[in-house]
């Protein structure tokens, strides 16, 4: 076991480092209530805008809330949004892509719709969608997923069309394999590697988009400590209390970096040929 892990670290250092960093961040998110010295929304009016010190490692904000505790809890929102958006957009995008790749008529229709959706810059589409509904983590997840689905669908469709030309698929068709079985047994397994890699990039980009939405006031409700919300909160007092923005900002950047490292590592570890253009993030 240890030997296997050692071999993986040597062969794919980026992947290993990214996974390690991500595991640490996930532990932080899960254990936040146990590690955080204060409640995430606990206000101590006597300790407003204190600089980082031994009492408050990351300082305190305008309401006397502990920035360190809030930053730890912020990991929860970020990871939840990232993972949920990836799961939703991958599964729906996979279905749409498979259907489009299987039927020419449906393909033309679906892909025009995807082209239209993809022509709206993702952050703007998410903003426009969020403006229609009330702020909640669920709505943020739905809005960001909608911006990512077309990209997954396009990727999957492209792979399906390439696979259809491959001899083993032609052989399966010639042998009379039914459509459903063809898709599930021969095509689907071959889309998984690139889709998985795309999923990591979607996770990274969803985390950034959530922070952007919250930062400009169209995202996570302000009473939930998310990194974007904390940074929005610190905007007014940035010149005198830069730490309110800088600490959650660094956490966000490091988490996104870890996810992207996992993505790059996976891309190199799995078949690299299908994935050359991977890594287009959206915000």
């Amino acid at each position: 076991m240890m030997g296997a892990i050692g071999a993986m670290v040597r062969r794919h250092p980026t992947l290993a480092l990214g996974l390690l960093a991500l595991a640490v961040m996930a532990a932080v998110a899960l254990l936040a209530p146990a590690i955080a010295p204060f409640g995430p929304t606990q206000m101590i009016p006597a300790k407003r805008l204190h600089f980082p010190s031994a009492d408050a490692w990351f300082g305190t904000d305008r309401f006397g809330q502990d920035v360190f505790s809030r930053t730890l809890f912020g990991a929860r929102v970020s990871l939840m949004v990232g993972v949920s958006v990836a799961a939703i957009s991958l599964s729906l995008g996979l279905v749409i892509g498979l259907i489009a790749g299987a039927n020419r008529l449906v393909d033309a229709l679906l892909m025009r719709m995807m082209d239209g959706l993809m022509s709206i810059p993702p952050v703007l589409l998410a903003i426009a969608l969020m403006a229609l509904t009330k702020a909640s983590v669920k709505n943020v997840i739905i809005a960001i997923s909608l911006t990512e689905i077309p990209r997954v669908a396009r990727l999957v469709r492209g792979i399906v069309l390439t696979l259809r030309e491959r001899p083993f698929v032609e052989a399966a068709i010639a042998a009379g394999t039914r459509q459903l079985r063809l898709l599930s047994r021969h095509i689907l397994p071959n889309t998984l590697a690139p889709v998985l890699v795309q999923g990591t990039y979607i996770t990274a980009s969803a985390m950034i988009t959530e922070a952007v939405l919250s930062f400009i006031g169209a995202g996570t409700p302000t009473d939930i400590p998310s990194w974007g919300n904390m940074m929005a909160e610190g905007r007014q007092v940035f010149p005198i209390a830069p730490y309110i923005i800088i600490f959650p900002g660094i956490f966000l950047a490091l988490t996104v970096l870890a996810v992207n490292m996992v993505g790059d590592g996976l891309r190199d570890a799995l078949d690299p040929r299908l994935l050359r253009v991977g890594g287009l993030k959206s915000a």
């Binding site: 239209g116 022509s119 810059p121 703007l124 426009a128 930062f215 400009i216 940035f238 010149p239």
Partner: protein
């Protein structure tokens, strides 16, 4: 050549139509009654009904879409709910600052990202390559506003070299314009440039593995000449494609960067519109940016003819 251009132009029309349709749907399902807003606080139900009729809000969906589309083609994007100013006017007022920031970021990006990608590809596998790609990966993982605040903290607050925020139009003198634009443009260029550097390296490596490159080496051409004259031109199409597609990232970045630096551009307009739930403005800006994005990508498609004459056929 003409046929190719014509084909690309024709292919753009349905996309633009769909974008317009999606944006209309967003406006259609937006909560609130624009007629009630226009009528004001003292309006009676009758007044509102009259405005409904006047604006055609009592018409069925498809009818409303066609009316809206007709107005759109005449440059009418509706009126802001918040201050009653036509959305098209608001966009034109704010366009200058956004355009200045976008162009500055784009120029800055191309000036360092492509050389960085070329150097990394030329020295593939060495420490230089690894370092360049590590920097690119870190840049690529930065949320624009985090990087923006780090730069402001370092260069404006600690070192006091540059203004913390604000914008000066070119008319107020180049130096002032430049000083205000430097940090926001650098923020965007670092993020966008990281993406371009990655794709430049990847496309070049692909080209460098081909036979004609070996031939060029064999006939004794210098590595520099092979890299710049033979390889880079053939890597041009994927690079141009990502420059175009990446613009979506740049646009997202522009919106937050303008917010951080209080630049009076379209991002600032969006920010205010969200605050007031000013749907026509949000929709107008969305439509405007989407059309700009589609147009730029059309130009990218047309630029393929410069890199590869076969495309012209």
């Amino acid at each position: 050549m003409l046929l190719y251009i014509l084909r690309r132009l024709l292919a753009t029309i349905p996309v633009v139509g769909l974008v317009a349709f999606f944006v209309f749907v967003l406006l259609y399902i937006a909560p609130g009654d624009p007629a009630a807003v226009i009528a004001g606080d003292l309006a009676t139900a009758d007044d509102i009904a009259r405005i409904h009729q006047k604006l055609g809000l009592d018409q069925p969906f498809l009818q409303r879409f066609l009316t809206w589309l007709q107005a759109l083609l005449a440059g009418d994007l509706g009126v802001s709910i918040f201050n009653g100013i036509p959305v098209a006017t608001l966009i034109l007022q704010r366009l200058g600052a956004t355009l200045a920031l976008t162009i500055a970021s784009l120029l800055l990006t191309l000036s360092f990202a492509i050389p960085l990608g070329v150097i990394a590809a030329a020295r593939v596998g060495t420490m230089t390559d690894r370092l360049a790609m590590l920097v690119a990966l870190i840049g690529f993982s930065q949320p624009a506003f985090v990087l923006a605040y780090l730069l402001v903290f370092g260069f404006s607050i600690e070192l006091r070299w540059l203004p913390v925020q604000g914008y000066a139009p070119l008319a107020s003198g180049f130096w002032d314009f430049f000083r205000h634009l430097l940090l926001p443009a650098t923020t965007l260029a670092l993020i966008y440039g990281a993406l371009i550097a990655r794709i430049t390296r990847a496309s070049l490596l692909e080209v460098l593995s081909q036979d004609y490159i070996r031939t060029a080496h064999a006939k004794g051409l210098s590595s520099f000449r092979i890299l710049t004259r033979h390889a880079l031109k053939n890597a041009g199409i994927p690079i141009a494609t990502v420059v175009g597609l990446g613009l979506a990232i740049l646009i997202g970045g522009v919106i937050v960067t303008e917010t951080v630096f209080s630049i009076p551009g379209l991002g600032g307009l969006t920010f205010d519109a969200i605050l007031h739930r000013d749907y026509p403005v949000i929709q107008g800006v969305t439509l405007f940016f989407s059309l700009a994005y589609v147009l730029v990508n059309l130009m990218v498609d047309l630029s393929y003819t410069l890199f590869d004459p076969r495309v012209r056929l």
